[in-house]
């Protein structure tokens, strides 16, 4: 049973002041060139259904509380992935204006996918790493 589902991931995305570039590339994962369903990955509508949370952006003031609330609704074990340079804390908006220093650090990301924005392939590699981490955690 575990073997059968070892690569299945339910992914929920949180937009935290990102410029929409990371979101475009995440949406590309539903297209035929990157089709993540072939890997057993799935984007889900509710944080309650998720075991991986992707976060993008430096963290905006207004998203801080909603993003935390959504993350708190995600069951354990889970893996948070920082998508893009802003979430990784090194992006163009980190510390600029009222933006935070990276949604990844604020929300406890353990996998980081760099890029401005990262390509769909790079995001996919990050998702595979998250799947492996979840597997180890379930051993």
């Amino acid at each position: 049973m575990k073997h059968v589902f070892s690569r299945s991931l339910a992914i929920r995305h949180l937009v935290c002041g990102s410029c929409n570039g990371c979101e475009h590339e995440l949406n590309a994962l539903a297209g035929p060139d990157y089709d993540i369903t072939a890997e057993g990955f799935e984007l889900v509508a509710s944080p309650r259904h998720a075991d991986v949370v992707t976060v993008a952006g430096p963290m905006s003031d207004a998203m801080r509380a909603p993003a935390r609330a959504a993350l708190d609704a995600v069951p354990h074990p889970r893996v948070v992935i920082a998508i893009g340079d802003c979430a990784a804390g090194v992006g163009p908006w980190c510390g600029v204006g009222t933006a935070g220093d990276g949604a990844g650090a604020e929300l406890g990301a353990e996998v980081v996918v760099r890029g401005c924005p990262p390509t769909p392939d790079q995001i996919k590699a990050g998702l595979r790493e998250a799947a492996e981490r979840l597997n180890r955690r379930l051993d």
Partner: protein, 467 residues
């Protein structure tokens, strides 16, 4: 494109705005310290009505008779402390200290609220939408954004105009070329520099590529909203193909930083013939995609009559771009006040009358064809010419505004600097900011389950509306 400022008294402002609005396309309004600016697009270029506001003075709001200024004036109040005497909405526009203003709702018996957001079910930027419904029927939609607000404009003040270009390009990835071009045109005007012809041609090609991939994404998203997976997947495939062309010919999938003050990056559009060939290959596929969409009766049926924006509403709310054109309003900056290479390469305009999801999708499909055609002509003119590095500009300082036609309509930048080129004010009015009120209008009398479809038929950005 020229730039004309006219100083008017505060007492005469509303009448002047009304008068200008009757003759020109309103782009919006903003405030710098103690001065309000109302921007218009005339055949010659930008007209700005400027009115000084002395301490304690109230400004007569234009919103009661011209509702398109609703957000602009509330933003002036929030951000720059301008006080309006009779603005119909006293709520802040933006969320402050984590507190979102109470949503506006329809009154009456049996009205029930459906609230979604800020976290949405799909991979969508954050916003809160409050639908006042009587059963399935929507009476009113209040769209409250600003969750992606980074305080961009204040943060740019004090930076050098040329150094700030990279941040302006990253306000929003999906319209970076259009916004960066408007910004570059402002910076170039403040340096009294006119962009060279081949860079203007390259800018046109990149802007049309941006329009093509965005429109394809909109069509894929609208198809998803209608539950037609085949057209969603095909739209995503075609979008990916265009983004790979962008990566090959503009060094980045979104073409970030391709546009620079003083020209374009030297290594973009370096091989016009091969780019031309790549785009020519797409023509037939776009035609096939058009058939897939509009020869599918059930999809056309689902698109028809959903999310109607009547022409008078599009005009009253200040709609721009394909959303306005789908309602019969012919606004297009490339045609209304041609800039750069558009001065001699004009796009063929697509207009529809009904203002529903079908009309917006039809306009976008036809515009993809027109963009391919326009890019082809520009590339033919470039021949085998390579681009030069952007010219180093010496900024003289002053004020300037410029508008370009992005995928969603007019992208307007206003810029003021001191004599050293340090930014004292930068304001961006995005096409998405202008068009959000149209989304709300489109949901009136529609049903709740249509919201994803109607919303995706506009596919507006939040990041450049919020800034």
């Amino acid at each position: 494109m020229t730039y004309i400022e006219r100083d008017v008294s505060l007492a005469a402002l509303r009448a002047e705005v009304r008068d200008a609005r009757a003759r020109a396309v309103p782009l919006g309004a903003y405030a710098s310290e103690n001065v309000v600016h109302y921007l218009f697009l005339t055949r010659d270029g930008i007209l700005v009505l400027r009115a000084p506001v002395r301490d304690g003075e109230m400004v007569a709001s234009c919103t009661p008779e011209m509702p398109l200024y609703d957000w602009d004036e509330r933003e002036m109040r929030d951000e720059r402390g301008i006080r309006f005497s009779d603005h119909p909405d006293d709520r802040p526009l933006a969320i402050e200290h984590g507190r979102i203003p109470e949503a506006r709702t329809a009154g009456g018996r049996g009205v029930t609220l459906v609230v979604v957001g800020p976290v949405h079910a799909g991979i969508i930027e954050p916003g809160r939408f409050t639908l006042s419904t009587t059963g399935e029927s929507v009476q009113h939609l209040d769209a409250q954004l600003s969750y992606s607000r980074r305080g961009v404009e204040r943060a740019l003040e004090g930076r050098h105009v040329v150094d700030a270009a990279a941040l302006v390009a990253r306000i929003c990835a999906a319209c970076t070329v259009s916004r960066a071009t408007a910004y570059a045109r402002c910076v170039e005007a403040l340096a009294e520099y006119t962009c060279d012809e081949r860079a203007d041609l390259a800018r046109l090609v990149l802007a049309e590529l941006e329009r093509i991939y965005n429109h394809l994404f909109d069509l894929a998203s609208a198809s998803a909203g209608a539950g037609y997976g085949r057209a969603q997947v095909e739209g995503l495939r075609l979008k990916e193909r265009v983004m790979r062309v962008c990566a090959d010919h503009a060094r980045h999938r979104f073409m970030l930083d391709a546009i620079q003050p003083g020209g374009v990056r030297a290594d973009v559009v370096g091989d016009p013939p091969s780019l031309r060939a790549a785009l020519r290959e797409m023509r037939e596929e776009i035609a096939r995609y058009e058939s897939m969409l509009f020869d599918t009766r059930s999809l056309v049926s689902r698109f028809t009559g959903a999310g109607i924006v009547p022409r008078e509403s599009a005009r009253a709310l200040g709609g721009v771009g394909p959303a306005a054109r789908a309602s019969g309003e012919s606004a297009d900056v490339r045609v209304d006040a041609p800039y750069g290479a558009y001065a001699h390469l004009a796009p063929s305009l697509s207009l529809e009358a009904r203002g529903d999801v079908l009309a917006r999708c039809r306009v976008k499909v036809r515009e993809i064809g027109a963009s391919l055609e326009l890019a082809d002509r520009a590339l033919a003119e470039l021949g085998t010419t390579r681009q030069a590095a952007p010219v180093e500009l010496s900024i003289r300082g002053g004020r300037w505004s410029a508008a370009t036609e992005g995928p969603r309509g007019a992208e307007t930048i206003s810029l003021a600097t001191d004599a050293r080129g340090t930014i004292t004010r930068m304001h961006a009015i995005s096409a998405s900011y202008r068009n959000w009120p149209l989304v709300a209008r489109a949901m009136r009398n529609d049903i709740v389950p249509d919201f994803p479809l109607v919303n995706k038929s506009f596919n507006l950005c939040y990041a450049c509306a919020d800034r």
